[in-house]
Symmetry: C2
Subunit: 544 residues, 2 copies
């Protein structure tokens, strides 16, 4: 007799689905008077947030938004964006967070590819849409976002201004009881090759990501995100939902501060006046803040900052630690919702010296709950967890994108063998710490060996007069590829000094002899993608 393994359900029983609604409800219940702050423009309570989320849904419904529609947002980080994070998915619609740093042509591609029905657009980006007007295929309704509550003069037929529409909407919207697998959000990842690719996440995925994030980040000890923190993102809300942290923050019921556009002086002022204690950003931002004149007179100690987007350079970790910043790396990507690992120190490592701490804090970290990871060779065989053997990181977790939007080939390639391929190469040590050593595409194949461009960059950055650096492989007839270093100076340094430094490491066996670059090129700035990542494709193209 075969036994039925799944549970019996009584016809009347409701097993509540995992919906974004529950995150908002929990936060409002636990901290109704807690504050949401938008730069120096606006300040209101969680209770008011809930009311405005209901009003936004009502306003969008009045504009014709139905379940299954896609609503795009083009805005800097704001309370409005937070409202959209909740209201749009809670209606059963899909929130498309548009990367406003893309070129107009790329923006147009994503608006049409996502089949957006409605676009909420900050006045700052209105000219872009006006220019694209005749080529926007599906979106017919445009809503203006304007801090000044501005007028509706535009070449576009604007349906109204956000605040005015909210004021006309009722306090209560009857949100539907959705299937938890309903699509909630979509956005586009721009690799260095090809067209932007759309990823997408369901209510279930976002809720589980929020709970796992809560479990990974909160608690006792350094770096933890708790009820008494004050949160300010410095990773755009259009980029992987600001790493999903606004959802974690809302579940926690903490004070949230949205800074608008990222201007160093504004960020530092908000840090000080709003007593911000928890943030996340890419390395470039923290570097910029540390170097800002205004930062010199501000006490940054105790500020907890997760660094992601690209690897946290150890010298930067040390510089931040020296200012008392509780800095550590996190890891993820657009395809992973994004949280996969954090480099929170164990209680033993918290007692270690600054050098050791900086080493661990700048690693890729250990996995958050419910993430399974492997490091595999090209045949999907596991490589040893010895801290030395390199392989590709592949993943399973309850919140990974189930494919690329309308792109079956790339979807199947992403998920080949039933594991999500990150395209990152790394090593895992005996204690379970991961360190990403390179992108598969960026690893330099020279003289029959794989040389990590990130390793070389880390070593070059140790030179006092090097501000930034990137190493790429350029084609070479004899060796396959040869490394070339691009360096931004912060003082006196020349090509020989860099080569001598690396030759020393090669003598010591830290890197392969093949790893010493043939050329060092000094540049004013490194080419970056729209989201601030090093654009190695462009570098290689320029160097050939």
């Amino acid at each position: 007799m075969s036994k039925d393994l799944t549970i019996d359900r009584t016809p009347e029983a409701v097993e509540s689905p995992l919906l974004i609604h529950g995150i908002l409800e929990s936060g409002v219940r636990s901290a109704p008077e807690q504050e949401i702050v938008y730069a120096d423009q606006r300040r209101y309570s969680y209770r008011e947030l809930e009311r405005r989320v209901h009003r936004l849904a009502g306003a969008l419904a009045a504009c014709g938004v139905k379940p299954g529609d896609t609503v795009a947002v083009m805005d800097w980080d704001s309370h409005r964006y937070l409202e959209a994070f909740f209201a749009i998915p809670m209606m059963g619609a899909v929130l498309h967070t548009v990367n406003v740093r893309l070129s107009p042509e790329q923006i147009l591609y994503t608006l049409n590819h996502a089949e957006d029905d409605v676009i909420l657009v900050n006045r700052e980006f209105l000219p872009v849409l006006e220019e694209l007007k005749d080529r926007i295929e599906t979106a017919k309704t445009f809503i203006l976002l304007d801090d000044e509550g501005g007028n509706l003069d535009s070449k576009l037929d604007l349906a109204g201004e956000y605040e005015a529409l909210l004021q006309k909407a009722p306090d209560q919207y009857d949100f539907p009881l959705l299937d938890e697998n309903t699509r909630a959000t979509t956005f586009y990842t721009t690799g260095t090759t090809g067209l932007p690719k759309g990823v997408y996440f369901s209510h279930r995925q976002l809720v589980l990501h929020t709970f796992a994030g809560r479990a990974a980040l909160s608690g006792s000890g350094h770096g933890r995100f708790n009820q008494d923190d004050v949160y300010m993102p410095i990773t755009p809300m259009f980029h992987v939902h600001a790493w999903g942290v606004p959802y974690v923050a809302t579940l926690l019921g903490v004070k949230q501060v949205y800074p608008g556009r990222y201007v160093p002086e504004t960020l530092l002022k908000l840090l000080l006046t709003e007593k911000v204690t928890f943030s996340h950003c890419v390395p470039t931002i923290i570097q910029m803040l540390l170097q800002a004149e205004a930062a010199k007179s501000i006490d940054l100690s105790g500020w907890k900052v997760i660094i992601g987007g690209s690897a946290l350079p150890k010298p930067l970790a040390k510089a931040a630690l020296a200012r008392g910043i509780d800095i550590y790396a996190g890891y993820g990507m657009s395809e992973t919702c994004p949280l996969i690992s954090v480099a929170l120190l164990t209680p033993e490592l918290e007692k270690a010296d600054a050098e050791t701490q900086a080493d661990y804090r700048s690693r890729t970290g250990r996995p958050v709950p419910m993430v399974q990871w492997r490091i595999v060779d090209t045949d999907m065989n596991d490589v040893p967890h010895d801290g030395k053997s390199q392989g590709e990181l592949v993943l399973r977790a309850p919140w990974l994108t189930q494919g690329y939007l309308k792109d079956e080939d790339n979807s199947r390639e992403l998920w080949r063998g039933g594991w999500m391929h990150t395209g990152d190469i790394g090593v895992i040590d005996g204690d379970g710490w991961l360190k990403i050593t390179d992108r598969i595409k960026d690893v330099i194949k020279t003289g029959g060996e794989w040389v990590s461009s990130l390793d070389l960059e880390g070593l070059i950055l140790q030179h006092d007069a090097v501000a930034e650096c990137a190493v790429v492989g350029v084609p070479d007839e004899k060796w396959g590829e040869r490394p070339v270093a691009l360096v931004v100076k912060s003082g006196e340094v020349d090509e020989d000094a860099i080569k001598t430094l690396l030759s020393g490491y090669a003598d010591d066996g830290v890197i392969s002899r093949y790893g010493v670059p043939d050329r060092v090129v000094f540049v004013d700035e490194l080419p970056r993608t729209s989201v601030g990542k090093l654009d190695k494709k462009k570098m290689r193209a320029e160097l050939v």
Copy 2:
């Protein structure tokens, strides 16, 4: 055109199911060297826990356990029980946690009703099974649990002794990738009427309960359960998985201490030697510990204790607070997995005086994330959240039992109207705090009014010479019912003193005039059910 609202899945993509395996994996990864302690018998690491879970699965498989089978455990709180919490569901089998405090006839009923295939039995309960031997219908395999690693002499044909079987099993078991809706656990709830009723929970439900528990309990401020705590349950593991906290503890990676049978001297000794900081128990246990001679010389300050099972009397809360214990109520029941709410203070209330704190700490609390609750009248209409209007508490959450095992009538009654009916009457105030005022069955209907037996008990307990008390309604021709108080003395007090006390409250309008009992009966102890709850059915029967 109708739009498909659910997300697309690439054929190769795996959206990891929510399995108990993930909880164990996360704990072992984050704290491999952390300790599991079994009284003064045994002590090992999380790494070893994981190995032993694999070995237990191998041992059970060798005994014939297959996916879909049910494996019962009859043990006191132990490391073995924790191993069973993981290994049995992870195999795809169902863990039946047997309430060893039930009568032999009731135990027999549950073993047969759950269709147990294998029973793991502590030597202490072997005589019970030997006696029942010929009437056990489905279980054919018995495994001995014995701290002494004892011999297999028994009227039952024992398949082996637990430790010996584990030693023979391999270090690695290949756990299946299960459907997350696979049944994981079952156990029986014994009301005061009828046969025990079986509830059941899936992997998904237990994982979500664990994450919500983690989110509700950990963080900053009083009462929180964090990585640096030391956990010891004082609610049996057979009773709603010790409220699910062993799963939360494992996810956290904290040190766990299992005390065996609950003996005050053992518990106090473990508190002291293992530096326990976090526990949960019924009110009776904390009262017993506070009164124990050995407790007088022990510093209990900082010990965090959640009280559940029955209401936390305010005087007991005050007595515990006076000893420095961070005590607060939690609420749930067998049907709810069990966690529904906790009475953690808000930051403002943490600053309040002891009297106000005791008042809030002894309420039913505020809901944990993802719980929806309503207070409704008999027609399922919501009553106002004004702190006064009484109604039945009904629930939705992702982890409520979907019915009673093989009992359609009671299942549909439990879930009538699509909400789980708790049978508890309560009030919710404007800040969202719930206070259960009574069981529907225990509320005293007299003179056309509902008088809460719990309210009366709370007032009587304020008398210095009253140790314990219960109030029940007994049939009365004229008034329908009349309240009768049963009192356990701790000093000098007589019937008149109690009546005078309550008449005073009636004069002040705190209770109805009908609420002053006609009779006060002094008893040596109050009748309780097998899980320590007041047995009001028995009291009413004895008083008529």
